[in-house]
């Protein structure tokens, strides 16, 4: 302590600036290095940011919703915004760097959320954990892209996914169901994607996926058909209900079979048709050739009534295909107006075109393109004049305006058209049909039906059925009249009358009473004069009677029967005529009249009239017996009687017997008249004899 410490040499040496530093500084240095290292690493490992658009957010949360690839998180949503017009949601996704380079233009994104379908429940885990975005891309690095359009549903065919990717197309009446399973022997071997209506509107299309392990089940000759729903049939074995599975019953489904062997293995992108049922699918295999048909669209401006599905498509008269479907189309952009045109889809069989090497739809299309440049056009032509059916005809038109067969993308190529041939022929036919149409066929038919009805009524009409009866009763009546006692009694009565006249004359001869004789003679003289004058009318009477007899002779019953027969046959002939309807009434009336006439004839007492006449003649004879003065009157009355009898007979159609009897009666009358003449002459010549009784 006593010694002062030696003077410390203070060296002002220039130290290196770190010499005084403690080693402790290594720690913050290390910390800084580590911090910067970590920061740099985390920055460097940050992947790029992509933007995926969705139609709605569906639960996407910024900072939480993950982007997953094969169910492994490869990114996270950093931000959720809207597009400029608020129409869509943009999810900004920070990718992990290791996958970022694979996310190229072909990548697809969709939101996985819980979904309950007929086939099952998917995305159940997202019920609690929230949705996530699933992405799919292939393992090749393609052109960069940082904006994507996400789909709302999981795409069936994913980029880089395995399996056979095919497309389905409905046939004319077929149906497609979204996401329907493709079943084979009860096992799901694939799935149908989302069905869409083709832009032409003629059919539905859908993509389909056959799982990789079942790929070899499909060949080009495989045919698919719809198994959705169930079939119910009642047959001899009982009722039968048939459906493939509950899933297909609810959600639809298609199945397939390869009916023939030898098809080429199916390629990705091949199009198969889905038929309505198994039979149609099987038949299609044998009715169409193995080559896919070339499908073209033709748009017609004019009226195409008469064109139907299945109508032939002809090239120079040779059928090369058929009309597959018809639909209307309105395309203001293409045609300049909003008229509805008819879009006809033709299905052309390439094998019928006679292609040499490339027998395929593409080859046919190339040929068609070439020919269209040279003027090949489609037009409508009449397939049949009678039915008015149309067909589509392809023909080469000279000096046709330039056109070409345009085919772009999914649309069917459109075949240019030319003026249709249907106008003249069809017009003629149409005229004919119009005329036929104008015919009052309905009225005619109605009339015919009425006639038939009337004929039936006529046939079943009591009146007409009574006609034969009436005729027979008429004949019977006539025969009754002829055979009636009254008629037969006429000659007898005449005879009796004459006999009584004779008796009267004999009595007159016997009576010789002087007193009365004088008066009688004067009266007789007068009477004789009268008789003379009376007798002059006798020949006329005879002639009259003769004509009556002649008439009676000529008028035979055969004629009547014939007439009746002809009447009947004309009635029969008239059954098919409208007037027949009124026939029963008329005929019945006629028959009634005839009957009535006959009845009158029989009952009305024509015969009795004769009888009465004869009775009157008897009374006249009696009167003559009383007074000779009455004789001329009697003759007159006889004359009248016979005129009456002649008239009566004229009304009749008498038999021979009657006419004979009448003739005999007339002869007798003649004789009686002659006797009377003789008597009168004798009295004139020798009046004494009357007085003397000699």
């Amino acid at each position: 302590m006593a010694d002062t410490p030696p003077k410390v040499e203070i060296q002002s040496t220039k130290k290196a600036w770190l010499s005084g530093a403690s080693f402790i500084w290594i720690i913050p240095m290390l910390a800084l290095v580590v911090a910067f290292g970590v920061a740099w690493q985390s920055y460097a490992s940050r992947g790029p940011l992509i933007v995926v658009e969705f139609s709605d957010g569906a639960g996407i949360t910024a900072g939480e919703t993950a982007l997953k690839y094969r169910d492994v998180e490869v990114g996270i949503v950093e931000n959720v915004t809207f597009t400029g017009d608020l129409s869509r949601v943009e999810a900004h996704i920070r990718l992990q760097k290791n996958v970022a380079e694979y996310i190229d233009e072909s990548s697809v994104f969709w939101i996985v959320q819980p979904e309950v379908t007929a086939q099952g429940i998917t995305g159940l885990s997202t019920v609690l954990s929230g949705v996530y975005i699933e992405g799919s891309w292939d393992n090749e690095i393609g052109p960069d892209a940082d904006r994507f359009k996400g789909s709302d549903v999981a795409p069936l065919i994913k980029p880089g996914g395995s399996g056979l990717q095919i497309a389905f197309r409905t046939t004319t009446n077929g149906t497609l169901t979204d996401n329907a399973p493709i079943m084979f022997r009860g096992i799901q071997v694939g799935q149908v994607g989302r069905a869409q209506i083709a832009r032409s509107g003629a059919f539905a299309i859908s993509e389909g996926l056959i799982y990789e392990e079942h790929r070899n089940l499909i060949s080009s000759s495989t045919r698919f058909w719809d198994t959705s729903g169930f079939s119910f049939s009642v047959g001899p074995t009982g009722a039968e209900i048939d459906f493939s599975s509950l899933a297909t019953l609810i959600g639809g489904g298609i199945t397939f079979d390869t009916f023939v062997s030898g098809g080429a293995p199916a390629r990705d992108g091949q199009v198969f048709e889905v038929f309505g049922e198994k039979e149609a699918a099987r038949n299609s295999l044998f009715t169409t050739s193995e080559v896919d048909p070339l499908r073209m669209s033709v748009i017609f401006d004019e009226n195409v009534s008469g064109l139907s599905v299945g109508a032939p498509v002809e090239l120079s008269g040779f059928r090369i295909g058929s009309v597959e479907s018809l639909s209307g189309i309105v395309d203001v952009a293409k045609f300049g107006d909003s008229r509805v045109r008819l879009n006809v889809i033709l299905s052309i069989q390439p094998s019928r075109l006679g292609l040499q090497d490339d027998v395929s739809a593409d080859g046919a299309l190339a040929l068609m393109k070439d020919r269209v440049v040279n003027g090949l056009r489609a037009r409508l032509a009449s397939a049949s004049l009678l039915t008015g059916g149309l067909k589509v005809e392809l023909l080469e038109v000279e000096d046709a305006p330039a056109a070409e067969l345009t085919a772009n993308g999914l649309d069917l190529p459109i075949m240019p058209t030319t003026e249709s041939l249907t106008s003249d022929a069809a017009a003629t036919v149409e005229g004919v049909f119009t005329r036929i149409n104008n015919l009052p066929i309905e009225e005619l038919l109605n009339s015919a039906i009425n006639v038939m009805n009337s004929a039936e009524m006529l046939m079943s009409n009591g009146d007409l059925q009574k006609v034969p009866g009436d005729v027979s009763t008429l004949l019977k009546d006539i025969s009754e009249i002829v055979t009636s006692d009254d008629v037969q009694n006429i000659p007898v009565a005449l005879n009796a009358t004459l006999m009584r006249v004779e008796g009267l004359v004999a009595e007159l001869e016997k009576q010789r009473i002087a007193e009365t004789l004088g008066k009688t003679l004067t009266a007789a003289a007068e009477a004789a004069d009268a008789v003379t004058s009376s007798v002059e009318g006798v020949p006329e009477l005879i002639a009259e009677l003769q004509t009556v007899a002649d008439k009676a002779a000529t008028l035979e019953f055969d004629v009547l029967i014939q007439e009746l027969t002809s009447l009947t046959s004309s009635a029969e002939a008239l059954i098919s005529s409208p007037e027949t309807a009124q026939l029963p009434v008329a005929l019945a009336g006629a028959l009634d009249q005839l009957n009535a006439t006959l009845k009158e004839l029989r009952e009305g007492g024509a015969v009795q009239n004769v009888n009465l006449t004869l009775a009157s003649a008897r009374n006249a004879a009696d009167s003559i017996a009383v007074s000779a003065r009455d004789l001329p009157q009697m003759i007159t009355r006889l004359n009248a009687l016979f005129v009456q009898a002649g008239q009566t007979i004229d009304g009749y159609n008498k038999g021979d017997q009657l006419s004979r009897a009448a003739e005999a009666a007339l002869r007798d009358i003649q004789q009686a008249a002659g006797a009377l003449e003789k008597l009168a002459r004798t009295i004139e010549r020798n009046p004494n004899s009357l007085l003397l009784g000699r």
């Binding site: 005084g20 530093a21 403690s22 402790i24 500084w25 720690i27 913050p28 910390a31 800084l32 911090a35 885990s125 609690l128 954990s129 929230g130």
Partner: protein, 216 residues
């Protein structure tokens, strides 16, 4: 009487030619290498004390940023997974009405560490440049910092206990997040930083205060 005499000069051990054993408090003549009583190494002033303070302080500060930016707790409930940083956890608690717990967490994890950073930095600066606060008060501040520093680990304990207890597979699991690690590092480094500080320098600063004008 000494405490009250802020203007009065306190004689340091070094000035008195002594060196005190920091373990057993026995004073030895300056230059004695080892304490004859307890065998501890005797140093009058810690070597490079300030450098170490600053270095460890910087490391602690570096660790403090990720401790607050990264999640502290990873909670996985059935299907949802949530992660919360220290502040967002406290805010969540406050949202649910637990203001007291939120306040504790905020004080223990935010206020105290930040206060420590400030206090250490203040002390380290003040030994070089005399501030307005009395030396005795600065000593008190140092003692409080050193005492309270360990309680900052309360957050880490909570995380450790939760992680250990709540491990029900499938239903709820709680795991420490990266922030826990950084927060622990931050606390450790601030504690080391505080320990690296030699409080005796406070009194040297008092000398400097007096001497500097003299030298000038």
């Amino acid at each position: 009487m000494e405490l009250s005499g802020t203007s009065q000069k306190t004689i340091t051990a070094r000035e008195a030619g002594l060196v005190a054993c920091t373990r057993c408090a026995r004073a030895w003549p300056l230059g004695t290498p080892v304490c004859g009583r307890c065998g501890a190494k005797l140093v009058s002033r810690k070597e490079n004390s300030l450098q170490r303070v600053w270095a460890l302080w910087i490391v602690g500060l570096i660790c403090y940023f990720p401790a607050n930016l990264y999640p502290m707790l990873l909670t996985r409930q059935l299907f949802t997974e949530t992660d919360s940083t220290i502040i967002s956890g406290a805010v969540d608690l406050a949202h649910h009405g637990a203001f007291g717990i939120a306040a504790i967490i905020l004080i223990a994890s935010v206020v105290i560490p930040l206060g420590k950073f400030w206090a250490i930095a203040f002390l380290a600066v003040s030994v070089r440049k005399q501030g307005g606060i009395a030396s005795h008060r600065r000593l008190l501040m140092f003692e409080v910092v050193e005492y309270i520093g360990r309680w900052s680990m309360i957050d880490i304990f909570v995380v450790a206990i939760l992680s250990a207890l709540v491990q029900i597979k499938g239903l709820v699991t709680i795991n420490p997040g990266p922030a826990a690690f950084f927060f622990a590092l931050s606390v450790i480094f601030t504690m080391l930083s505080a320990q690296a500080f030699d409080p005796r320098m406070i009194w040297d600063a008092q000398d400097n205060d007096n001497e500097v004008p003299d030298h000038g």
